[in-house]
């Protein structure tokens, strides 16, 4: 948790420092997108199927033409059903069940995004964020489940490119990928790390 507060603190400081610029430019931006997340690391042992129900929305403050800070909310749904199998617990107890694993992630991240070039049809960017991941794990043995919801630390790194839709505004299509580091360390699951593919749009609010 100490690391979580360190990263979140750094992100908060960046946003506080950005406030004067925000007032100066008064060009708050909102973004939204669809994303597909692919489990990786030990999360694959729990669910290996990609999550096709992924959405994100965010608010960003442009500090200048290239640097933005903001807050984002995400939602990702993962599900996988395994064929019936007998599970042995080693003490004389055996359970035959169809196991279904269901995971929902709700990351809330403070982040920064930096566009590498100011002009051009395609403008590459890199970004990072940190915050919390509200995760619900629900494992079904047959129809009997045992859900757990926990709040954990999360870190996101991303890269991609913007395609501006106007030469006079910051409206743009966003296409990119991300790595989502989401330690869990509960309920027998070490982490909920994923690779993400995202497509969305960003536009200013006046």
């Amino acid at each position: 948790m100490r690391t979580f507060f360190q990263y979140t603190g750094v992100a908060a400081v960046i946003i506080i420092l950005a406030c004067p610029a925000l007032h100066a430019q008064n060009s708050l931006e909102i973004s939204g997108g669809y994303n597909i997340n692919i489990p990786t690391s030990s999360f694959k042992d729990y669910i290996s199927h990609p999550g096709y129900k992924g959405f994100n929305v965010g608010l960003a403050y442009p500090i200048n033409d290239q640097l933005r800070v903001g807050l984002s909310f995400g939602y990702n749904d993962f599900y996988q059903k395994y064929p019936r199998q007998v599970y042995h617990n080693g003490s004389g107890s055996d359970i035959s069940a169809v196991v279904s694993n269901s995971v929902q992630q709700l990351p809330v991240l403070l982040g920064v995004n930096y566009t590498l070039v100011k002009k051009g049809f395609i403008r590459p960017y890199v970004g990072a964020g940190t915050g919390i991941n509200i995760a619900t794990l629900d494992q079904y043995l047959g129809e009997f489940d045992d859900p757990h919801t926990r709040v954990k630390w999360a870190v996101k790194g991303e890269a991609g490119f913007y395609i501006p839709l106007s030469s006079t505004s910051t409206t743009a299509i966003k296409v990119g990928g991300s790595y989502n580091y989401m330690p869990y360390n509960s309920d027998g699951v070490k982490n909920l790390d994923t690779w993400g593919i995202e497509a969305g749009v960003r536009f200013p609010i006046h």
Partner: protein
């Protein structure tokens, strides 16, 4: 800043609403897939040391922790017959309860509308001795579970329970009739006659050690 608050709240509300798009695993399960089969056995028991068994002629019906009666429905009859067939296939000899069987087989239908952690210990605390030991010719003896086992499953419907009781060693165990094996089937349509044989078969299939 007020605008930012509204936008942030709206974004969060939108995400929570999208969260209702969660794929419900229960909608993707057949009735067969909804059922689970749990078996427990006494790891110190030597199953090949028993040669005979007897099966009760009806099943206990337990509702909300109360023994409400004994019945023999078509489901019960199929369960009892299937158990007898499987145990005979596995080398045990079926005898009457008056013939001093080594094992007694008891079947229960347990209905419980509460939810919580399922515990074999509780099961036996509540219902232990549901068959009077006199029934098996062991008057004055007590029932004991093989060990304290806990299942982390919600009990939202009924279950079919099979117990194999050690009569052969009851005296040697200090007048204790110990269960050396228990089987439990739970899930959708557990008590359908058409599913009875498959449920019993599943419990014994995962208990290959249960043979003479």
């Amino acid at each position: 800043m007020k605008k930012i608050g509204w936008l942030t709240g709206g974004a969060l509300l939108m995400i929570i609403t999208l969260g209702s798009c969660r794929k419900d695993p229960l909608n993707n399960l057949t009735n067969d897939e909804s059922r689970i089969y749990i078996s427990n056995y006494d790891t110190t028991a030597n199953f090949s040391s028993y040669t005979t068994f007897s099966i009760a002629d009806s099943v206990d019906v337990i509702e909300n922790n109360q023994l409400t009666g004994r019945e023999r429905s078509s489901f019960d009859s199929t369960v009892l017959t299937t158990i007898g067939s499987i145990l005979q296939q596995r080398g045990y000899q079926k005898v009457s309860r008056e013939s001093s069987p080594d094992l007694a087989i008891a079947v229960s239908r347990v209905y419980n509308t509460s939810t919580g952690v399922f515990s074999y210990g509780d099961y036996w605390d509540y219902y232990g001795g549901y068959w009077d030991p006199y029934y098996w010719g062991y008057g004055g003896f007590g029932y004991y579970p093989p060990y304290y086992a806990v299942g982390v499953y919600s009990i939202t419907n009924g279950g079919m329970e099979i117990d194999a009781l050690d009569l052969k060693n009851a005296s040697a165990h200090g007048n204790k009739i110990t269960a050396i094996w228990t089987g439990l089937a739970r899930g959708e349509q557990t008590f359908q006659t058409a599913n009875a044989a498959a449920e019993v078969q599943a419990l014994f299939d995962q208990s290959a050690y249960f043979k003479h």
